[in-house]
Each structure stands twice: as C-alpha cells, then as structure tokens.
C-alpha cells in the first residue's frame, strides 16, 4: 500500500500541474504574439478566459448524450491520475503501482478514447472528423513511442519510469547511441501528441473548427481548455522524467522538492520557448501526408533498436 505521504505528495503535484496549465498555455500565447510582433494578451489571459467561461451557460447540441457531457470530467480525472503517476518533483515515481511506462501510456488512451468519442457523440461532422483524426494520430504515433521507450526500458532494465530516468541520468546504460536515438524518436512522438503545429490535426482551428472542442461551451469548454494545456504539460513531464530527470529530488525532503520544482519550471520554460519557435515557424502538415512524418519517427526508433541489439 502506498503511504499517506506518497499520496499527498502526488496529489499536491497533480494539483500544481493542473493549476499551472493555463499559465503554460498563456506563456505560449504570449510567445506567439511576440513572434508575430504583436503585444499579446499577457500570460494570465488564459486564467481570465477560463473563469469567464466557467460562469457561462452550458450549451449542447441536440444529439449529445452521456459521453459528450462526461468527457471533460473524465479527461481531467484521467490526466490528474497521470499527474500522480509521473515523477515531476522527485526522481522516483510518486506512488508505486502507477508509475509504470505501459500504465502511463495506456492512461493517456483513456483521454484519447473519450475525447474522440465526444466528437462522435456531439453529432457534429467537424467534431467527428476531429475524433477520427485524433485516433489516427494515436495509431501513427503509438508504435514509435512504445518501441523507443521500450529500448530505453531495456537499457535501464526496468519499465518503471523513475528507474528509467535514474539509469539514464546516472549513465548506467549499456549503449549511449541507442539512448540518444531512442530519446530523439520518443521526443518526436511526444511532439505529435502535444497537438501543436504542424501536427494539430484533431483540434485544428481553421481546418476543423477545433475538432471535438467545437460543440463545447461554457464551463465544459473551460475545463477542456485547462485539460488541453494540462495534457501538454504532462507529456512534457513524462519526457523529462525519462530523459532529463536532472534536478529532481532523490528524496522527499522539502528542500529537495523545492529544488525539484525549480528545476521543472526551468525545464518547462526552456521547452516552451523552443516549442514556441517551432510552432510559429511551420505551416500545418497535410493530414494525408502525416504518415510520412510518423514513419520517419518509427525509422529512428527502429535504428535505436538496432543500436541496442548490436550494443553500439
């Protein structure tokens, strides 16, 4: 059984990430504005949007049923669970029994399942196509993600995310080349999952009217907006935990945790800038041609696998 300390630490970590999600999306908005040489709305704008939406009325299309109504709640619950499973402040997983690589990947599948289902449930064609695209993207990305992370797990000798991060951080891995390649492939796959340009397939604003989000309004939309940013933060936390766990605390002392928090914020800040630059300097990839990109990712992952087998 996990101890009370473990659970409360994990819960605080999850709430912190949830609360920071609008800040993260706010920062990316500001960065985009700067790159467009606009003044931009300010980093706190997303909080204001969310609060405004929370006060509004819920409006739903006539076809919508249970799946449509439950989706924002289910999505945030699943994401919170992931946030309690992934090591952010600490090196080890906050609660043993949750922080397994396969478990976390399949927890993300809950989000994908309900997100896409809500698109079909809304009865809107745009939302339905968005749902279909979200799942297609998952199909294209999943093999790359699993193969590359499996190579890392094999090198680390464990599928526990904390143990994987520890092994990679301390250099206790047999093949550096394989780790680098697997890391590249996994990060590429995670970039797909972030849903940012050039791969914002499911919720493409101009093309699909924001996909499954298009029929949501009021508090549901507010929760969803938070959830989208939260999901991006969690994908980044997942990547950090495995490939750059530096700075995170190896114990649960307060100082260690604060250092871990500072390190996480620093990492997120750097990545936010990089993401901002990438996102704003590319055009949306054509959906029909995305397999070419994903095959490329699978190619890198396979190369990492070959490196691992040959022990390079």
């Amino acid at each position: 059984m996990p101890t009370l300390t473990q659970v409360s630490l994990a819960f605080v970590q999850a709430l912190l990430l949830l609360a920071a999600a609008p800040l993260f999306t706010g920062i990316t908005r500001v960065l985009r504005a700067k790159m467009h040489t606009r003044r931009g709305p300010g980093v706190l704008q997303d909080y204001r949007d969310v609060i405004k939406l929370l006060r509004r009325q819920n409006l739903q299309p006539p076809a919508a049923g249970f799946a449509f109504r439950a989706m924002p709640t289910v999505m945030i619950a699943a994401l919170l669970t992931i946030a309690m499973a992934v090591p952010v402040l600490t090196r080890a997983v906050p609660i043993p029994g949750l922080g397994d690589l396969i478990t976390v990947i399949y927890l993300f599948a809950i989000v994908r399942f309900f997100f896409s289902l809500s698109g079909l449930d809304s009865g809107s064609s745009f939302a339905g196509i968005g749902g279909s695209r979200e799942l297609t993207l998952g199909v294209l990305v999943e093999p790359t993600l699993v193969l590359s992370l499996l190579v890392c797990a094999l090198l680390a000798g464990s599928t526990d995310i904390g143990a994987m991060g520890e092994a990679i951080a301390t250099g206790h891995v047999r093949s550096a080349g394989a780790v680098l390649l697997a890391g590249a492939a996994a990060i590429f796959a995670c970039y797909f999952e972030l849903g940012k340009l050039p791969y914002d397939m499911a919720e493409a604003e101009q093309e699909l009217q924001e996909g499954p989000l298009s029929e949501y309004s009021g508090p549901s939309l507010a929760l969803l907006k938070v959830a989208m940013g939260f999901k991006q933060l969690l994908i980044l936390a997942f990547v950090f935990a495995i490939f750059v766990p530096y700075g995170s605390s190896s114990d649960t002392s307060l100082v260690g945790l604060l250092i871990g928090l500072a390190a996480f914020i620093a990492k997120i800040a750097v990545v936010a800038v990089v993401l901002g630059v990438v996102e704003n300097s590319v055009a949306r990839a054509r959906f029909r041609l995305t397999p070419r990109h994903s095959w490329f990712g699978l190619g890198i992952a396979s190369l990492a696998f070959v490196f691992y087998i040959s022990g390079l």
């Binding site: 739903q60 006539p62 076809a63 289910v74 279909s132 499996l150 508090p219 087998i309």
Partner: protein, 671 residues
C-alpha cells in the same frame, strides 16, 4: 460431490436440455425455457467443477468405453479446469440471455437451436477434459458440427456460404490435428494423452506434430492466415451462439496449441515459441486493421476475435520461448499473460456479442451506419457495451488492460536476457501490440460511437426500446466480470499464476503483493488496478468541484438547435459514418488491405474450385454410370440371354445334362 461427478452431472444436464429442447420443439416457449434452464444448470455445475480444480492435483476418470483401442478418459487438471470454468461462465450468461433472445427466432426452429446450442456447450467441455486422442477428436468434430448447424441456422445464402467455408476449414484443421495425433500415437503406442506425455518422440517427429497441430488448432482459433472462415461464420450465427463461438470456441484452438506443444511435447524448441509469437503479432495487427474497415457490427467483432487470439498467442508464444530458453520467470509470465487474456477476451467478447445481439434484436440490421443514438433508447445495453468496449481497448483499470500489461511485461522480460533471436523478436512483438492497442481504441470508439452516440440515422433507430430483462441481466453479469477481473487483479493473478506454474511443472512464483501485481521481480515495476480505480473515480471530483464553484449565477444546461456546420443546415448525411471514420486508416494502411483482397480472392477461388468439383462429380456420376455400371449390367444380361438357350424346359434335355456332367466329372477324377 467430487468435481468429476459435478462435471458428469453438468454434461448430463446439457444433454437432457438438448434433447428436451428437441422434443419440445412444437411448444416453442417451453423449448426455449427448457433449453435455457437446462443450459444454465449445466453451466453452473460445470463452473463449480472447473473452479474447484484450479489449484489442486489433476483428477482422472477412466472408463473402458465401447472401444477396446481407446479408453474414455476424463482428466480435470488446472488448465482444463480453467477452460471448463470459462466455457461454463459464458454458457451460463448465454443461457440467461437466450430466454428472451431466442424468441426472435420463433417459428424458425427454436427447438433444434436449443438442441445444437446445448450440444455445442457439452462438446466443448468434453474436448477440454478428454485425455485420449480418439475421444478428443470425436468431441472436436462434434463441436465443429454443432456450431456448423448454428452458423447455417438462418438458412439464407450468406449463412449457408459462411457455413460451407467454416465446414471446410474446420475439417481441414481436424485432418491436420488427426495426423499429428496419429504420429504421436505411433511413437507412444497408445492413444492416451498420458502415454503421449511419457514418450519423447524424435525432434523431427515432434516438430512435424507441432506444425500439424499449429495449423489444425490455428485454423480453429482463427489465426491469420487461417482466419477466412471466422469473420463470415461468427456473424451468421445467432448472437448468443456467436458469443460462445468467439468467446470460447476459438480459445479451444489456443488451448489445443498449448496442450500439444507444452503439455504433450514439452515445448522445448525455441522456434516453436518464435513461430507462435510471430503468428500472434501478425494476427493481432491485421485482425484489428480489418475490423476497423467493417461497418457490420458482428463482422467487426469477429475480426477483433482474430486480433485477440493474436494477443493471447503473444503471451503463449513468450511462455514457450521461456520454456525453450530455460527462463522460468519468462515462461510463467508469458503463460500468465496468455491465460489471463484468454479469460478476459472470453468475457468482454461475449459481452460485446451479446450487446450487438441486443441491438440487432431491436434493429434487425447489423449495419452500424443505420444505427446511432441508441444510448438514449437502450441505456442498459449502451452502458454494458461501453464497458466491453473500454475493456477490449485495454483501458485501465479494466481487465483487458491488466492482461495486456502482463503481455508487455512478459515480452520485456524475455527481451531483457535472451538469445539474439529472442531479443530481436520480442520488442517487435511489443511494438505490434502497441499498434494493435491504438487501433483497437479507434475501432471501439467507432463501434460505440456509431451505434450508441449522436443522432439516430434511421427511423428504426429512433423507435428502438430497451431489450427484455434476461438479456440485460446477461450483459450486466459480464460487464461486472470485466470490472471485477480488472480491479481484483491482485486476487486473480495468483490463481492464474498457479495454473501457469502447474502447466509448466514449476513452483509457483509470486505475482501479487497486497494491492499490487508485479512481473515477478518487484524491483522492475508494479501495477495496482484498485488504486488506479480509486484515483480515477476520486479525482473526478476535482473538475466537478471546479465547475460547481462557479455555478452560482450560471443558467442551466441548454440544448442548442443544431450542431455548427459552418453556417450550412446540418443534416444526417453530414455526420461521420462508420465508413468515413476509419477512412484515414484505410488510406494509410492501404497495402495491408490489399493483402486481404488477395487472400479473399484466394479463398473464393477455393470455394469456386470446390463448387466446380461438386458439379464435376455430379456430371461424373452419370458418366460413371454409363461407362461402368451400364455396360456391366448389359453384359451380365447378355450372358444370361445366351444361357437361356440351354434351358429348353424339357425333362429329357435336363437328364441329358446330368448324364453329361457325370460323365465329365468321371473323366476328370479318373485322370
């Protein structure tokens, strides 16, 4: 009562139910009730018998039987006990379901349906407990035949053609199995499985037996490329029978592979495991890819059976690799994963077929494009189907996830320290499993979404109502089992681990610790489904609380007039259909669909050739008549006519004949 007696009582019940149903076929309602009730009692007895031998020494019943060369031997060990339990569980639920469902077939022979259904269940139970090759084959044939009659029950062109393909493949498979068993019997000098276990045939013979049984049982299991019959035969049968066929019968194929290669032959050859693993990977990916392109719900589910057989084979194959490379942990993990998924698939596939049956019961169509919006009119069916869809998509913390997690862990453990071949094969298999998982999620979002979500796409869909209580009870039981087998993983895993250990003759390892399950070595990793469930449910309060905190001045939820369609008036044709939803996958994986077209063309070719053969035989028969039978008749007739000359009818002539004969005989003896 001992488990063996319980089992015999259960079989007797099945037989009584079968013949009772047949006798009562004039009084249809009585026939339905009798078949259902008898089936239910039989299943409960069988389930208790199976459950009571899960962790214990094998029980054997040896009866001389009518044949001197083959004793009728029943062996109830951990593996067959598990199979009996699974068969009985599904048979019980299907029997409950049948009380209402079979009324749909009123006037079309519900008596024979109950007969074949109960016979089918009894023969499946007998196949898994038979411990003699001859009786095994007899019951295997009985199972194929009983299910054949269920497949062709509708008597329309599609059902008959599907039944024909099924008949052909099932018998080709039986021949392969028979050949394998006879080779073994040749080496062992007896048809008893006990003798098979004791002999050690030469490596070549063992491998030939393995390949024959892999082909034979693989055809029954529906593994690719021997799956052609499955997506046609399963949809054709009545839904409660499809649930049994997809849920249990194809598992008997897997059971057979496991029985022959591990139980009878010892499974000590590396390439066997690799072969099973490779076929499993191919079956899982292609099965789900083909499922995705379907818009007939039962065909979609049937293709998913191909996929899940593949996943079970991944586990079993890894287990066999573990045996061959002398890694007890890998062997045990693989078997555990395979057997767990075998149970799970039986449960959720049974549930999904019953759900589909409930929808078809009301809609009278299998086409998902004509459904839609059924969640509103059929809330129970919809909720149960959703649980099944989540379970088959391996969504944590349900049962499908736990067994897939163990499959990953088994593959990981095998890859961690194995020979080059194993290190190469297992991560690729894990990648195939990942692709399968993602595709399965897509497929079941589509299936659930198209059937139950959105707007009704036909008049019939609008007018549906919830199905009668027995059908709901059947589905709810299975849905509860899906949740239970997932959440209670820490309790279930030790039992299945014990069965795996019994099959492998190894001391049981610990795969559970408190609320956690683990792949052997706790340093590796842990999984806790109860904890996941508590968190997933508990954390849902956070968004609800956030939303509630601002609800003060908010107006109630309101329904908009129509969804946004860029200013156009939305109509039913604009919504996403089963076809268009999967269109990107069909586009991106086009080459894999091309493979199927080729394969389908080949199977149709075989069918055409067979039809030609039959018509040739039909033409050949009279030809044979003219060429062989006719002439010989006329020859005999001609000879008779000639001989008539001798028969003048005069007594004196006959006396002359006698004298002549005597004279000739005298001459012969004197010389």
């Amino acid at each position: 009562m001992t488990p063996i007696q319980l089992l015999c009582a259960s079989l007797a019940c099945s037989i009584v139910a079968a013949f009772g149903s047949l006798l009562l076929s004039r009084a249809e309602n009585w026939a339905i009730s009798f078949a259902g009730l008898g089936g239910l009692v039989a299943a409960v007895l069988g389930g208790v018998a199976g459950a009571s031998v899960l962790s214990g020494a094998p029980l054997v019943l040896d009866v001389a039987g009518p044949f001197s060369f083959a004793h009728f031997i029943i062996r109830l060990d951990a593996l067959s006990g598990l199979m009996v339990l699974v068969i009985s569980t599904l048979a019980a639920v299907a029997s409950i379901y049948s009380f209402s469902y079979v009324r749909e077939y009123g006037g079309r022979g519900v008596g024979p349906m109950g007969f074949f259904f109960n016979l089918f269940v009894a023969s499946m139970v007998l196949v898994v407990v038979a411990d003699n090759a001859f009786w095994f084959l007899v019951f295997f044939e009985m199972m194929s035949l009983a299910s054949y009659f269920l497949v062709i029950f509708d008597q329309d062109e599609e059902a008959v053609s599907a039944g024909f393909i099924y008949f052909l493949v099932a018998h080709a498979g039986s021949v392969a199995i028979m050949a394998g068993f006879f080779l073994m019997a040749n080496a062992a000098g007896s048809l008893d499985f006990a003798a098979f276990r004791a002999t050690h045939p030469s490596a070549l013979v063992a491998s030939i037996v393995f390949v024959l049984s892999l082909l034979g049982f693989g055809a029954k299991a529906g593994m690719i490329p021997l799956h052609v019959w499955l997506p046609r035969a399963h949809p054709a049968a009545p839904s409660h029978a499809s649930a049994l066929m997809s849920g249990v019968m194809i598992k008997i194929g897997v059971f057979g592979i496991l029985k022959v290669s591990v139980d009878l032959l010892g499974g000590d050859v590396l390439w066997w495991g690799i072969a099973v693993l490779a076929l499993g990977a191919i079956s899982s990916v292609l099965g789900v890819i083909y499922a995705l392109a379907e818009h007939d719900i039962k065909r979609l589910l049937a293709y998913h059976s191909v996929e899940n057989i593949g996943i079970i084979m991944l586990g079993i194959g890894t287990g066999m690799i573990g045996i061959a490379t002398h890694h007890p942990l890998v062997a045990m993990l693989g078997m555990l994963a395979g057997l767990y998924h075998l149970i799970n698939h039986a449960i959720f596939k049974g549930l999904l077929f019953l759900g589909a049956g409930a929808v078809i019961f009301r809609m009278h169509t299998k086409d998902m494009d004509k459904m839609g919006g059924l969640a509103r009119t059929m809330p129970w069916t919809s909720a149960c189907f959703l649980v099944g869809a989540l379970a088959i998509s391996a969504i944590p913390p349900l049962n499908g996830f736990v067994s897939e997690w163990f499959t990953y862990q088994a593959l990981f453990a095998a890859a961690l320290d194995g020979t080059f071949l194993v290190q190469f094969a297992t991560p690729i298999a894990a990648t195939a499993l990942a692709l399968t998982g993602a595709l399965a999620v897509m497929c079941f979002v589509k299936a659930y979404g198209e059937m139950f979500s959105g707007l009704p796409r036909s008049k019939k869909a609008e007018q549906t109502t919830e199905v009668p209580a027995p059908m709901i009870i059947g589905m709810v039981l299975l849905a509860a089992a899906c949740v239970g087998l997932g959440l209670a993983a820490p309790l279930v895993v030790p039992v299945i681990g014990g069965i795996a250990a019994a099959i492998l003759h190894m001391p049981p390892a610990s795969f559970a610790n408190g609320v956690m399950v683990l792949p052997g070595d706790p340093a590796h990793t842990l999984l806790s489904t109860p904890l996941l469930a508590v968190l997933l449910v508990g954390l849902a309060t956070v968004p609800l609380a956030i939303s509630a905190a601002f609800s003060g001045s908010r107006a109630n939820r309101r329904q908009a007039a129509e969804p946004w369609a860029c200013g156009y008036l939305p109509d039913a044709h604009m919504t996403v259909t089963a076809h268009s939803f999967a269109q990107p996958i069909r586009m991106f994986f086009a080459p894999l669909y091309a493979v199927r077209r080729t394969a389908a063309a080949a199977s149709e070719g075989i069918e055409r050739q067979f039809v030609k053969l039959v018509s040739l035989a039909r033409r050949g028969e009279p030809m044979l008549d003219r060429a062989l039978v006719g002439p010989s008749i006329s020859f005999v007739g001609g000879v008779g006519k000639r001989l008539q000359i001798l028969q003048s009818g005069a007594l004196s002539t006959y006396c002359l004949y006698i004298v002549a004969a005597l004279a000739i005989l005298l001459l012969i003896t004197l010389r």
